[in-house]
C-alpha cells in the first residue's frame, strides 16, 4: 500500500545523524555541572566525566544493535518492554518520564542561576518556575520546523566551548590542580553518577533509526561519535575550569564557566558563556519536554500507560495533556525546592537504571532470538556478551555510589513503576514478551 506514513524514505546520512546526536548531547550539563562536580571530587572530577562517557559508550553500543533490530518509537523504553515485558516496561517508562522531569527542573534552575549574571537579586526558584511555565505554554501551542534553529544553537554552543577551552588551555595554572583528588575515588565515582545527566541524550539517535541511511554502519558510528565528542569537550572544560579557578571559589560558584571565562577573557568572555548557558538550558529543557511526550506515546501504545494522555489538541495538534501533566510535575519539583544537585542526581539515577536494563534487553533478544529480530548492526563476537555485561555491571556500581537521599527517591520511582504495573499495566498491556523464551532456550540447551 503506497498510502502510508512509513515509506518516507531514509534520508539521514552519518553527518546528519551525528549532528542530531550532538544537538541533544551538547546542552545544559556542561554549563551547570562544573561547580557541582568540582565541589564533590575536586579536579579529579574530570575523571568522573571520562567514566560517565565510557559508561555511555557501552550503552551506545547496546543501543545501536537494538535500534537497528527494533526501529520503533519509544527507543530505550520499547527495547525493554519488548524483551522483558510490561513490569520492566512500567519501571523504565515511568523512570524515563520522571528522569526527564527532574532533568528539566535541573536545567531550569541552571537557567535561573545564569540569569543572575544580569540581575543579582533575581529569585532563583521563581525565575526557574516562570521559565518552565513559558516552555509548557510554548509546547502546548506547538512549535514547527525548528531544525535550522537547533542546528544554529548547536554550532554556536560548540563554538563557544571551543573558544573557552582553547583560550583556557593557555591560562591553566598547574598548581591549582593540587590536591587533585581531595575526596578519594569513591567521590569520583559518585560524581560520575551525578554528571551522567549530561549524557542522557544520546538515545535520541536510536529513536530515529528508521530514517538513517545504511543504519548498520551509520547508526553505531554516529552514536559513538556523538558520545565521544562531548566527552572530550566536557573533560577539557573541567580541566580548564579547575585549572583556573581555585577549588574553594569554584565550589561555590553558581555560574562556573562564566566565572572562569571572566578571568581569562574578561567581561566579553563571561557574557559569551552566560549567553551559551541560557541557550543550552532552554533548548535542553525544551527537548526534554518533547521527549517526555514521546515516551508517554510509546507507553500508551502498548497499553502500559493511559492512552488518554496522548490525545492531540484539536487546533494545535499537540499532545497537550501529556505536556500539561509533565509540565505541572516539573513546576512542582521546582516549587518544592528540590536542590539542583539532587535534581541532576535523580535524573541520572533513572537513566542509569534504564540503560542498565537496556543492556539486559540486548542479552534477552540475543538469547530468545525471535524471528523478526534481524538487526543491521550486530555487536561483533569479541564485544558480545562483554559489552552488555560490562555495561550493566559498571552502571550498577556507579548507581550504588550515589547519596542515600538519591537512592531513596530513585527507589520510590522504581516502586511507583512496580505499583503501576500491579494496579494498571498488568491488566491493560499487551502480554507478549521474550524473557521466558530466552530462559527456555537456555535451559533447552543445558538439558540437551
Amino acid at each position: 500500500m503506497s498510502n502510508n506514513q512509513q515509506d518516507l524514505s531514509r534520508n539521514l546520512g552519518f553527518l546528519e545523524a551525528y549532528t542530531m546526536g550532538l544537538g541533544t548531547m551538547i546542552g545544559a550539563g556542561i554549563f551547570v555541572l562544573p561547580s557541582i562536580a568540582a565541589a564533590k571530587a575536586g579536579p579529579a572530577s574530570m575523571v568522573s566525566f571520562v567514566v560517565a562517557g565510557f559508561v555511555s559508550l557501552l550503552s551506545a553500543l547496546s543501543h545501536s544493535e537494538l535500534a537497528t533490530g527494533m526501529p520503533e518509537a519509544g527507543g530505550s523504553y520499547y527495547y525493554v518492554y519488548r524483551s522483558m515485558g510490561s513490569l520492566y516496561g512500567s519501571i523504565v517508562g515511568l523512570g524515563m518520564w520522571s528522569g526527564l522531569m527532574f532533568a528539566t527542573a535541573f536545567y531550569m534552575l541552571g537557567f535561573a542561576q545564569y540569569m543572575t549574571y544580569f540581575y543579582g537579586d533575581l529569585p532563583i526558584a521563581l525565575t526557574a518556575f516562570l521559565m518552565a511555565l513559558f516552555l509548557v505554554v510554548l509546547n502546548y501551542r506547538g512549535t514547527e520546523e525548528t531544525a535550522l534553529f537547533q542546528n544554529l544553537i548547536v554550532l554556536l554552543l560548540a563554538g563557544f566551548i571551543l573558544v573557552f577551552v582553547t583560550v583556557g588551555l593557555f591560562n591553566v595554572d598547574l598548581t591549582t590542580f593540587r590536591p587533585f583528588n581531595p575526596n578519594g575515588w569513591g567521590a569520583v565515582a559518585e560524581t560520575a553518577a551525578t554528571v551522567y545527566v549530561a549524557f542522557i541524550g544520546f538515545g535520541v539517535i536510536a529513536t530515529s533509526a528508521e530514517e538513517i541511511q545504511n543504519p548498520g554502519r551509520n547508526l553505531p558510528l554516529s552514536m559513538i561519535a556523538s558520545v565521544l565528542t562531548p566527552t572530550v569537550f566536557y573533560v577539557l572544560v573541567m580541566f580548564v575550569s579547575t585549572g583556573i579557578l581555585p577549588l574553594t571559589e569554584m565550589a561555590k560558584s553558581t555560574i562556573p564557566v562564566a566565572d572562569v571565562a571572566e578571568i581569562i577573557m574578561g567581561t566579553p568572555g563571561a557574557l559569551m558563556m552566560v549567553v551559551g548557558a541560557i541557550l543550552a538550558t532552554v533548548s535542553s529543557a525544551n527537548a526534554s519536554i518533547l521527549s517526555a511526550a514521546r515516551v508517554n506515546f510509546a507507553m500508551g501504545r502498548n497499553g502500559v500507560f493511559m492512552d488518554w494522555l496522548n490525545k492531540v489538541h484539536e487546533d494545535y495538534h499537540t499532545p497537550y495533556r501529556s505536556i500539561v501533566v509533565t509540565g505541572s510535575l516539573i513546576m512542582l519539583l521546582i516549587g518544592l525546592g528540590v536542590g539542583i544537585e539532587t535534581l541532576a542526581d535523580v535524573a541520572s539515577f533513572t537513566y542509569l537504571v534504564t540503560y542498565a536494563l537496556v543492556h539486559l534487553a540486548l542479552i534477552v533478544m540475543r538469547e530468545a532470538d525471535p524471528e523478526d529480530y534481524a538487526p543491521d548492526f550486530v555487536l561483533p563476537a569479541v564485544a558480545y556478551p562483554l559489552v552488555p555485561v560490562l555495561g550493566f555491571l559498571f552502571t550498577v556500581v556507579i548507581i550504588l555510589q550515589m547519596r542515600p537521599v538519591v537512592l531513596g527517591i530513585g527507589t520510590v520511582i522504581i516502586l511507583l513503576g512496580v505499583a503501576w504495573y500491579i494496579f494498571y499495566a498488568r491488566d491493560h498491556a499487551e502480554g507478549e514478551h521474550l524473557i521466558w523464551e530466552a530462559l527456555k532456550s537456555n535451559s533447552d540447551e543445558e538439558t540437551s
Binding site: N3, Q5, S9, N139, E144, L290, R301, H317, P319
Partner: protein
C-alpha cells in the same frame, strides 16, 4: 490539435493541506487532465507530535478528506495516485515524495485557484526545457493568458535585448506545441533585488510557474527562490523540479 499524450512524462505532485478548512472548496481544474497527477494530502504537525501519533488520531478524518478530493478528480476525468503524509517538515516531504513518485513538477494547491493569467519566471542561466515542457503540457487545448517573465539584476551583464530574445525563443517553442501566440506575452524588468521582485510579482498573476533552484548549501540554510514564492503567493504555484543528475 495536439493530443495530450504528446507530453508523456509530465507528472505533477499536487499538494493540498488537509488541516485547513479551505480543502472543502477545492475543485480540480481541467489543466491537469493532460498530466499524471499524484495527489498529496499533507497534514502539518508540530514538533511535539510524532507522525504515528497524528496518524492514529487524525488519520481517519484526513483519509476521508483525501478520498473526497479524489472523487472530485474522478468526476473531472482525472485519475490520481493518492498519498497521505503527516509531517512537520513540508519541504522535506515534498522533496522525498516528488523523488519517490518521479514527479517533474510540484503544484501547491492553494485556496485561491484560478489559472486565467499565468506568470512564468524564467532565468537566463537555467535549463528551461523542463519548465516550458511542463507549461506546454498544462496549457495544451486551454485558453489561459501567459506572461513569460525575466528579472535581470541591475548589475547583471545580460542586456535587455538578449533577455527578450531568450524569452521569444521560448514563446516560439510554446506556439509550436499548440499554444495560441496571441495569449503569450513577454516581460523583461531590470530590478535591484530579484528575490524581492519575485515575491512581490507573484501576486500580480493568478498562478505562477517557475523552476526549482539548483540545490546548494546556501539554499539549504536560507531557503530557495521557489520556497519564497510558495510562501508568498496566494494562488497556485507550479514548481518544475531541477532535473536529476544521473
Amino acid at each position: 490539435m495536439i493530443e495530450s499524450d504528446y507530453f508523456e512524462g509530465a507528472r505533477v505532485l499536487v499538494t493540498v493541506d488537509l488541516s485547513k478548512p479551505g480543502w472543502k472548496d477545492l475543485t480540480p481544474f481541467e489543466m491537469l487532465s493532460s498530466m499524471d497527477v499524484v495527489l498529496l494530502g499533507f497534514h502539518p504537525i508540530p514538533d511535539q507530535t510524532t507522525p504515528e501519533q497524528a496518524e492514529d488520531q487524525l488519520g481517519e478524518e484526513a483519509q476521508r478528506r483525501l478520498d473526497e478530493l479524489e472523487k472530485r478528480f474522478d468526476h473531472a476525468g482525472i485519475s490520481v495516485v493518492k498519498r497521505l503524509v503527516f509531517s512537520g517538515d513540508f519541504k522535506k516531504t515534498l522533496d522525498t515524495l516528488a523523488d519517490e513518485e518521479n514527479c517533474t513538477a510540484i503544484l501547491t494547491w492553494n485556496e485561491r485557484m484560478n489559472f486565467d493569467r499565468i506568470g512564468v519566471f524564467l532565468r537566463a542561466d537555467q535549463g528551461r526545457d523542463n519548465i516550458v515542457n511542463n507549461l506546454a503540457a498544462m496549457m495544451v487545448n486551454q485558453d489561459q493568458e501567459v506572461e513569460l517573465i525575466h528579472f535581470i539584476s541591475e548589475d547583471s551583464e545580460i542586456d535587455d535585448a538578449e533577455s527578450r530574445s531568450i524569452l521569444e525563443t521560448e514563446r516560439d517553442y510554446l506556439v509550436d506545441r499548440g499554444c495560441d501566440e496571441e495569449r503569450i506575452s513577454i516581460r523583461v524588468d531590470r530590478v535591484s533585488d530579484v528575490d524581492e521582485a519575485l515575491s512581490e510579482t507573484s501576486n500580480e498573476y493568478d498562478a505562477i510557474v517557475m523552476g526549482e533552484t539548483k540545490p546548494s548549501t546556501a539554499s539549504e540554510v536560507f531557503g530557495t527562490r521557489h520556497e519564497l514564492v510558495q510562501e508568498n503567493a496566494e494562488g497556485p504555484v507550479l514548481v518544475v523540479r531541477y532535473p536529476e543528475e544521473d
